[in-house]
Amino acid sequence: MSQDEARPYSFTLDPFPQQAPEWNRASAFYDHLREGRLTTTRCRTCDLVSWPPRSVCPECHGDDLEWIDLPTEGRILAATVQVAGTPPGFPAALVFALLEFTPDVRFIGRILTEDLEAAVADRMASLVVQEVSRDRVVPAFRLV
């Protein structure tokens, strides 16, 4: 039995976001992610592409937003391997990289790799879907 199942569920000890539409207006992001797509929102009024996804545009404050696909491959700008001090549920070692998907969209992604030295600047990494507790998904990446 996983630790997850052994304890009664506690939302405030759960590191993963609620992804269902009744809890999260960006729930479509997770639906797309299950399909292997990496998406975010674009404002139909002023064309601004935002990361993270939004429900209101931070530029023009319009709320007419659409989902667009981002490239599923990103370029590593910097990488690190964390071997101590990881939170519960994230056993070390963890490889993290700052990934650039477009000139304006970057995020810090987990790189799933056995070779802890392999994630280095300028390498590319592509999306994989990582399943986590309670039927949820988070983005992760593998080196190309």
């Binding site: 000890l13 993963f16 976001p17 993270p52 001090g85 939170p87 700052l98 600047a121």
Partner: protein
């Protein structure tokens, strides 16, 4: 607009930072007692305004509404201003800025700022998990990103762009642990070499455990008053000469593209220098936010003390210690003292207060007349205050 000048008249900290043997209330009491004991003219009844700086008591001690808890503990009944401040790691300096603003505009004459954080819980895993609340939980915390990862990536970018070395990072750590030897409340006073820093337990490349500030229980408090009333409390008031603040963004990956530069810090310290009428070369002593060794490297550049890209060499060449250009982190900084989030900025102010009064004992910077504190809440949110002795007004 004509504003009033504001002075710090009393300051103190809890006795030994680390794992505090007591409750959150006990921690507040210990720091408050240190302040009242240091200033016999001051009593709880003098204090008109009260600001508590505390980041995550909801998580770590299961308690909200900590401003009245702390005020009640110290026998303070605010009549002019009352609040709690939470801006993550920079909360303490934000609280001091709020107190300054209220006194400068005449809202109150005497305000106490108490920073307190009891971070250790009986469950270490829960304590570490709680640190996820300080990052973008949905988009960064959810994949396991915490501060050591964010700043390790920052270090990697600085090393790649400027050739900063792990030995230069270790020089910051060795210096601040050595400085902490002179500070009775520091959690990690230690004479260590660059080789010992490098040989300590790896955390997140390029950091070892010595490159990282720790999870710490600690508290500090200061009392600020208007110039007209400063002499009621002390013969040696220390004046707030200037302050600045700037911030951009929350989701770490998108605050700005190149984390080896901290443009919002240049904005914040530029405002503080202008307001104080001083420049980088006028600062005698500084407490800056070395949450990780790379932070002090970049801070010394953006402050104008080291050339851009030269922050590593600045530390390695001894320019940020006694006898150098400016003594950075004489109390040991966050690396040497530990980092009790909401208390850190208040403790930095306490150190500069003591240094400018000549009361810093074995860690005294000779002749220090102008001091600076810098607190950050991520690479793109910075809070700066410059203090001076009366003759600097």
């Amino acid at each position: 607009m004509e504003t009033r000048k504001v002075a710090v008249v009393a300051a103190g900290t809890s006795q030994k930072w680390g794992i505090f043997p007591g409750t959150y209330r006990d921690l507040v009491a210990e720091a408050g007692k240190a302040v009242f004991d240091s200033c016999p003219a001051l009593s709880g009844g003098d204090i008109e305004g009260f600001i508590a700086s505390s980041v995550m008591p909801e998580r770590n001690v299961f308690q909200s509404h900590v401003a009245p808890l702390a005020a009640e503990t110290l026998g303070v009944r605010p009549t002019k201003l009352f609040q709690r401040v939470e801006n993550m790691c920079g909360s303490g300096t934000v609280a001091i800025r709020n107190a300054y603003t209220a006194i400068a505009c005449g809202l109150a004459d005497v305000i106490m700022v108490v920073g307190a954080e009891k971070m250790h819980t009986p469950e270490w895993g829960e304590t570490v998990l709680n640190m996820l609340v300080g990052v973008d939980r949905e988009w960064e915390g959810a994949v396991g990103v915490t501060a050591p990862v964010q700043f390790a990536l920052t270090a990697q970018m600085h090393m790649r762009r400027f050739g900063t070395t792990v030995e230069q990072l270790a020089a910051v750590s060795a210096k601040n642990h050595r400085h902490a030897l002179g500070n009775p409340y520091a959690q990690f006073p230690k004479a260590c070499t660059i080789d010992e820093v490098r040989a300590s337990k790896p955390v997140a490349a390029p950091f070892t455990i010595f490159d990282c500030s720790s999870i710490t229980d600690g508290a500090a408090a200061v009392v600020l008053v208007c110039e007209e009333r400063a002499r009621e409390f002390t013969d040696q008031p220390i004046y707030l000469l200037g302050t600045g603040q700037a911030a951009s963004g929350f989701n770490y990956a998108n605050v700005h593209a190149d984390w080896s530069e901290w443009p919002t810090l240049r904005t914040a310290v530029g405002s503080a220098y202008r307001m104080a009428g001083v420049g980088p070369g006028d600062i005698d002593v500084a407490e800056v936010h070395d949450c990780f060794s790379i932070s002090e490297v970049i801070v010394t550049e953006e402050m104008g003390w080291a050339e851009k890209g030269g922050g590593g060499a600045f530390a390695a060449e001894g320019r940020s210690t006694y006898g150098g250009d400016v003594v950075v982190n004489p109390r040991g900084g966050l690396l040497g003292c530990g980092h009790p989030l909401g208390a850190t900025g208040v403790a930095q102010a306490t150190e500069v207060f003591r240094q400018l009064r000549g009361e810093a004992g074995p860690r005294q910077v000779d002749g220090a007349a102008i001091g600076l504190t810098h607190n950050l809440s991520g690479v793109a949110e910075h809070h700066v205050v410059i203090y001076g002795r009366e003759e600097a007004l």
